[in-house]
Subunit: 197 residues, 2 copies
Amino acid sequence: MESPATRKQVTHDRILDTAARVLRDSGFQGVGVADIMKRAGLTHGGFYAHFSSREAMLAEALERAGQDSQARLQRALAAGEAKAVTRFRALVEAYLADRHLRSADSGCPVAALASEMPRQSDAVRAAAAARVTSLTAAVAATLGPDAPRETAAVIASQLVGALQLARTLGDNTQGRRHLAASRQFLLAHFEPAHPNR
Amino acid sequence: MESPATRKQVTHDRILDTAARVLRDSGFQGVGVADIMKRAGLTHGGFYAHFSSREAMLAEALERAGQDSQARLQRALAAGEAKAVTRFRALVEAYLADRHLRSADSGCPVAALASEMPRQSDAVRAAAAARVTSLTAAVAATLGPDAPRETAAVIASQLVGALQLARTLGDNTQGRRHLAASRQFLLAHFEPAHPNR
DNA sequence: TGTACATCAGTGAACGCGCGTTCACTGATGTAC
DNA sequence: TGTACATCAGTGAACGCGCGTTCACTGATGTAC
């Protein structure tokens, strides 16, 4: 698989990684072609050898951000299993961690970008809808198999909404109190009885 | 109070109303000086007689949007009282109405703009934090007086998160199902027993 | 009441800057023989 | 193995457009006497 395209693919990947981080930190408007290329160690002229347009790059970057975030969540669940806490608790504590008040660049792109979605291109919105679905599925997988189907959607809303309101309140006592209230509520009402599963 | 400033104040008000609507529909980036002035029936040159900068206008527009939205919510609560449903039910059904999937321009600015807030100016973020607080207070006022203090914050998160995820899913079956699940959950778990109060 | 002047709200042309996009070119990598 | 040529990834200057901001000016409203 060391085809002639390899070198270009490596660069493409580096650009995407950069864009996926900046996107979550700075929003769609904050992702500039020249800036992303510079951060990736390149000049802006080469951009169009990798993407047909800025719009196309945004859609790819959102998908990448979703994969990043999903993978991080899975690692947190695995770590939770090692500590013998429920998968649900591991998920809630990872998603609503105080640390996420500040740094959004490695977190969930839905929480970082949700209110901008209705104004994005079809490709971007499709990627966003897929990410909502996969987040809901990840939540469902941490609930007991007897939980109603809608419960996962409700919990996903709570996770995203709580993180956004806390970020709006700020990285201070108010914001942290808001996160803590959501964590406590979710654990009190939805944590399955059995530690592992 | 028919002071010489009256005419200018009327114009100022019209500009702000326009900006408050466009802001919720198109986001912070979508509010352009020339566009807003044109929609208000003016030319862009006069803008700086009303605001010191575009940034200052954004902060004022966000406050205005918050007032609009709060007033609409209060009217919905009053209408609910007339129909002898609980204030809580009136609030949930108004906030999570299917109609809000499409039109954000008259709705809650927090739901319309939350994920853009961390990147805004101090003045804008302060206005946003105040609106989160007032939304939480509005929710608290519809709960029984014996409800724990954190409950209102959790419900506010659910309202905002559910609306945003539904909008991300789109104005279709998926989006509407998402909203319906949240409405049902909130009513089943938090609606006070007594119809009025 | 009427006239002359001052103030005020809004106009429209112009400026500077950032940013997405294009394109001719360069240096490096790979291929043919 | 070595040489000549083709392909490829990336460079950097330039273009065009949108947008926030400035400013000299105009027509209308209000005030002094």
